[in-house]
């Protein structure tokens, strides 16, 4: 039972991460793979505030999310002002820099990881409640992303991706929108990190490396970029499949590489057979019903 609860929590967190990452790289078209570093910032900030300063965990989590959002805005604003291309470099540099700092500072526990993170809800059989909380958070993230993508904001993002110059020429502030989306998505990642930290009560810097970036990117791309359900599907599949084969009774020496192979193999198969992902996004922007042009119709 504990195992399934933990799996559900991992899947919920992956869904939130993939969905918010999709908002950034898919809907906003921002080229960044540094999502895990904001996951890390949320986890570490929340853990440290709760453990060393005694903040109540929910408040610490909120601070973790805000710290991730603020850090992402600080990375995005100067680079996006110059040009969209700088974001990739700046954000990877930031990811490597932050992880390096975490590894070398004593307050974060260094490379060995941060231990004794205060638990939340988990005592006396509250694990199920924690899983429910995480799943509710994941569902809320998916719903918010859907709302954003198919409302006036999504329309504007779509126009911005099509032609940023024409977009600015209409009076829309592309840089502000990009920074806002980036901060929002990163804030979600930060909250996911905080939720991770207070459940597992132990985090290490290596969980947030470039490998994690690749895994998240795979979830979004295999599932279907710029769709509501694609990243959800991708997250569930890529989180559950490697777990599923642990049920097969294999020695760990084979299991590890097998999981890696499965993961890479899946990506390769998709690249060849279904590059648009499991769920394909249409070319056209789809408004939510209340914003639809079709109501007036071809009168």
């Amino acid at each position: 039972m504990d195992y399934l609860i933990t799996l559900a929590i991992m899947i919920g967190l992956s869904v939130a991460l993939a969905s918010s990452f999709n908002l950034i790289i898919g809907y906003a078209g921002l080229v960044s793979i540094a999502h895990p570093v904001f996951y890390a910032i949320g986890a570490y900030v929340s853990a440290l505030l709760a453990r060393d300063l005694g903040l109540p965990v929910p408040l610490a989590m909120l601070c973790g999310a805000l710290a991730a959002a603020a850090a992402s805005a600080a990375v995005a604003l100067p680079s996006l002002r110059v040009s969209g291309d700088y974001l990739l470099i700046a954000s990877i540099g930031f990811q490597l820099g932050v992880l390096e700092a975490i590894k070398n500072v004593s307050v974060t526990g260094g490379a060995g990881g941060l231990t004794n993170i205060p638990a939340f809800l988990v005592q006396d059989g509250g694990k199920g409640a924690y899983a429910a909380l995480v799943i509710a958070f994941a569902a809320l993230t998916v719903w918010l992303n859907w709302r954003i993508a198919h409302g006036p904001y999504g329309r504007a993002l779509s126009a911005m991706r099509d032609d940023e110059t024409a977009f600015a020429g209409l009076g829309r502030n592309a840089v502000a929108m990009k920074v806002a989306v980036f901060a929002f998505g990163s804030g979600i990642a930060g909250l996911a990190g905080a939720l991770y930290a207070h459940y597992f009560r132990f985090v290490t810097p290596e969980q947030f490396e470039i490998l994690q970036s690749a895994a998240l990117l795979t979830m979004v791309v295999v599932g279907g970029v710029r769709t509501t359900w694609g990243p959800v599907l991708g997250a569930v599949l890529l989180q559950a499949l490697p777990q599923a084969i642990t049920f097969v009774d294999l020695p760990p020496a084979i299991l590890g590489p097998l999981q890696g192979l499965l993961f890479t193999g899946l990506v390769l198969v998709f690249m060849v057979l279904r590059p648009q992902g499991l769920i394909a996004a249409g070319e056209a922007w789809q408004p939510a019903k209340k914003y639809s042009a079709k109501t007036r119709g071809e009168a």
Binding site: P152, T165, E283, A293
Partner: protein, 252 residues
């Protein structure tokens, strides 16, 4: 009459290429000015300088007395400057209606906080924008294709969408870059009528166009540009009749 747009001493060069050389130009409310000149004269570049696609090297640009130069492109548009593009630049992933819906000067839906805290306000504004867009589509005879992806229209219709989208700004000053190029038949008539109506509404309009008939029928005045300079300004008929300008226009 106080001018809407006032340009003084505008300079711009790209390396060795001078695209604007001491340009002075005023646009007045309710008047349509035709900007003519040979290929490469710097007409589009002048629009780019006014709208802020790239910064000028020297000179001032004022809209209703307010300095535009130095402002970001989106700020200039939100002060009431609208333009179209020689190469259309529509949003192909959006329907015709949604192309227009992105165009109003104020757009509350592009702020996440606003969406979260005041969804009713955003929805009300969207409804208003939509009514306005439907009105503009009516005027440009595009109502029938409102739900069609902009990329699926005929070229003439796409040109009209470009102008319709610019009209959403309710601009004080409207810059049209070759609205008639490749446009014929009904779209031609509609375009002419729309531009005239806009000017009658008190907007200062400037049209770049190679179609001489269009310029002559529509414009109150012409401005002749060559090699980044304004060489002459006056009645269109006079400019066309000037052998010196005709020679520059057609080359020797």
């Amino acid at each position: 009459m106080t001018p809407v747009l006032e340009i003084a001493g505008l300079d711009k060069r790209f390396g060795g290429i001078v695209v604007a050389d001491g340009i002075d130009l005023t646009l007045n409310p309710g008047r349509v000015v035709g900007l003519i000149g040979p290929n490469g004269a710097g007409k589009t570049s002048l629009f780019n300088l006014i709208s802020g696609v790239f910064p000028s090297d020297a000179g001032t640009i004022r809209l209703d007395g307010q300095r535009l130069d130095g402002l970001a492109m989106h700020r200039r548009a939100s002060l009431g400057l609208a333009r179209t593009w020689q190469n259309l630049r529509l949003f192909p992933s959006l329907s015709v209606l949604d192309n227009l819906m992105v165009g109003p000067r104020r757009y509350l839906g592009d702020r996440l906080l606003r969406l979260a805290l005041d969804p009713a306000g955003v929805r009300a504004q969207e409804a208003g924008t939509r009514r306005r867009a439907e009105e503009v589509l009516e005027r440009t005879r595009l109502s029938g294709v409102a739900a069609t992806p902009a990329a699926d229209l005929t070229f003439g219709q796409q040109k009209l969408v470009g102008v319709a989208r610019a009209l959403m700004n309710d601009a004080r000053c409207l810059l049209l870059d070759e609205p008639m190029a490749g446009v014929e038949g009904q779209a031609y008539e509609i375009m002419q009528q729309v531009v005239r109506e806009v000017a009658e509404g008190g907007v200062a309009v400037c049209v770049v166009e190679h179609n001489v008939a269009f310029i002559r029928d529509l414009c109150d005045e012409g401005v002749f540009m060559f090699a980044g300079k304004v060489l002459a300004r006056g009645p269109v008929a006079d400019l066309i009749a000037d052998p010196r300008l005709t020679e520059l226009y057609f080359g020797t």
